[in-house]
């Protein structure tokens, strides 16, 4: 939102008149249409006049535009002293899903989700061990409710704990074909997505995994 002050005044009276021919009315209408469409706020007629080439008849363009949109799915409406495009009131019911408020997943949820994605099938205890904190009950519930994780098979170990795996909806949302398409840490680092400084004093072991199949893939064998 650049402020108004650094813009030339409305229809600058000192501007050379008629250096360019005034665009035809159809063209003026297009311009008003585009401005009203793209603007975040209603635009006043005087502001429109400022933005259109000199000599344009904003009032007439607005009349044309208004009749063009009469009966359409979108209307030209007057809001205060400005003009705006608005969905036709009778179609308001269509907009309902437009009101979905998206919120970022909490850190706990996204970390849990990441662990399920990378380590599936994984038990609750394993998730807690990897994150180093205990899992609040709401986190798993939330991910389940979103349809991104589901119960996998029970682990054949004492207590037969439940495991979690990611769902197809998860793959769909993240644009993955399989969980195997998730990048490994090494690939993240190579892609520059992981800002890593080495641990001081830790010597990197010699590089012998260049041609070994991707280290993380066995996570997905079951």
């Amino acid at each position: 939102m650049t402020d108004e002050t650094d813009r030339p005044g409305p229809a600058d009276p000192n501007a050379t008149p008629g250096l360019f021919p005034v665009p035809p009315m159809g063209e003026q209408e297009r311009m008003v249409e585009a401005i009203l469409f793209a603007s975040a706020e209603p635009v006043s007629a005087s502001e429109l006049a400022k933005r259109l080439p000199e000599g344009c008849d904003v009032a007439e363009a607005l009349v044309h535009l208004r009749s063009r949109y009469a009966g359409r799915g979108v209307h030209l409406v007057r809001v205060g002293d400005g003009w705006a495009m608005r969905t036709a009131p009778d179609l308001g019911w269509l907009m309902r899903t437009e009101q979905v408020e998206t919120r970022r997943l909490s850190r706990a949820a996204i970390e849990t989700l990441a662990i399920v994605a990378y380590h599936a099938p994984v038990t609750r205890a394993e998730i807690e061990e990897i994150r180093g904190v205990s899992l609040s009950r709401g986190t798993i519930d939330q991910l389940m409710e979103m349809g991104w994780i589901r119960f996998g098979r029970r682990r054949m170990t004492p207590g037969r704990p439940l495991t979690f795996v990611v769902t197809d909806a998860f793959l769909d949302h993240f644009g993955l074909e399989t969980p195997r398409d998730l990048p490994g840490l090494k690939e993240l680092r190579e892609a520059g997505l992981l800002d890593s400084r080495g641990m001081p004093g830790v010597k990197p072991p010699e590089d012998d995994d260049e041609d070994s199949p991707d280290g993380q893939s066995e996570l997905f064998e079951d």
Binding site: M85, R86, M95, F174, P183
Partner: protein
């Protein structure tokens, strides 16, 4: 006949250009970029460039850079070595007994690489020159949200997901550099302790005997305390306060206060 003169003039011009290139060496994105710039000087279709001539120009460039003591990255030198090899192969008659690709194949591939890089650069330019969202064309400025029914949908991107995973898996790596003080016996503490004790060690005593209580059981704590105490003993030996003795390799290290008369 001014051919020699013209040749001399050309070489002056070429030298100037070479120098211009050298001044600009940081501006190149690697050897291929430099080769592409050089090849443009031939002012012909990239499919018809003389790779031999290009190799010579590149080698001259590298030579000149060396003469001016300009540090060239290793990949420039690797390319130079390869081009020198290619040049010799291009100049020599082909050896029918030799296996592998011919010099012409290699030269053709280099020409292909240059052409491909140039094509991608042009494509990039065309792409960036397109009408773009938010610059030439615009999305709806006021997406409509008359609140009728509110539902919260949580969302996350793949990038967030994998970064979260990376964060967990590299927690230790990201941690600011710090010792776990609980299991580290600092050298300063060891020095203080040893200084206080050594006066009493008139006879040779085992280094291990100087370890603080609570740090003597086998394990990382003992190792840390032993290392610090040993380092402290070396420091005090240097200051002339004690003597150190070890009868053989791996034998216990013994300390003793240095007799007063020796100080």
């Amino acid at each position: 006949m001014s051919e020699t003169e013209e040749g001399a003039e050309l070489s002056v011009a070429a030298r100037l250009e070479d120098e211009a290139l050298i001044v600009d060496v940081d501006g190149f994105e690697g050897p291929l970029d430099l080769l592409l710039t050089l090849s443009r000087r031939q002012k012909v279709d990239l499919r018809r460039i003389s790779v031999l001539q290009l190799a010579e120009q590149y080698l001259r460039f590298v030579e000149a850079a060396r003469a001016l003591r300009i540090e060239l990255a290793a990949d420039y030198l690797v390319m130079a070595a390869w081009l020198a090899f290619l040049k010799s192969r291009l100049l020599l008659p082909p050896d029918p007994t030799e296996e592998g690709p011919t010099a012409e194949d290699l030269a053709a591939h280099l020409a292909f690489q240059l052409e491909r890089l140039e094509a991608m650069r042009e494509a990039a330019g065309r792409l960036m020159g397109r009408d773009r969202l938010g610059r030439e064309f615009f999305a709806r400025g006021a997406p409509e949200t008359q609140a009728i029914e509110k539902r919260t949908q949580h969302t996350a991107t793949l990038l967030e997901l994998i970064q979260a995973y990376a964060r967990i898996r590299t927690k230790d790596e990201f941690r600011p550099y710090a010792f776990d003080r609980t299991d580290i016996y600092p050298l300063e503490t060891a020095l203080d302790r040893l200084r206080g004790m050594i006066g009493h060690a008139v006879d040779w005593s085992d280094l291990a005997g100087f370890l603080p209580p609570g740090w003597r059981a086998a394990g990382t704590r003992r190792r840390s305390a032993l290392a610090s105490t040993f380092a402290a003993s070396l420091e005090l030996a240097k200051q002339g306060q004690l003597d150190i003795r070890q009868s053989e390799t791996f034998a216990p290290i013994r300390l003793r206060a240095r007799p007063n008369e020796a100080r």
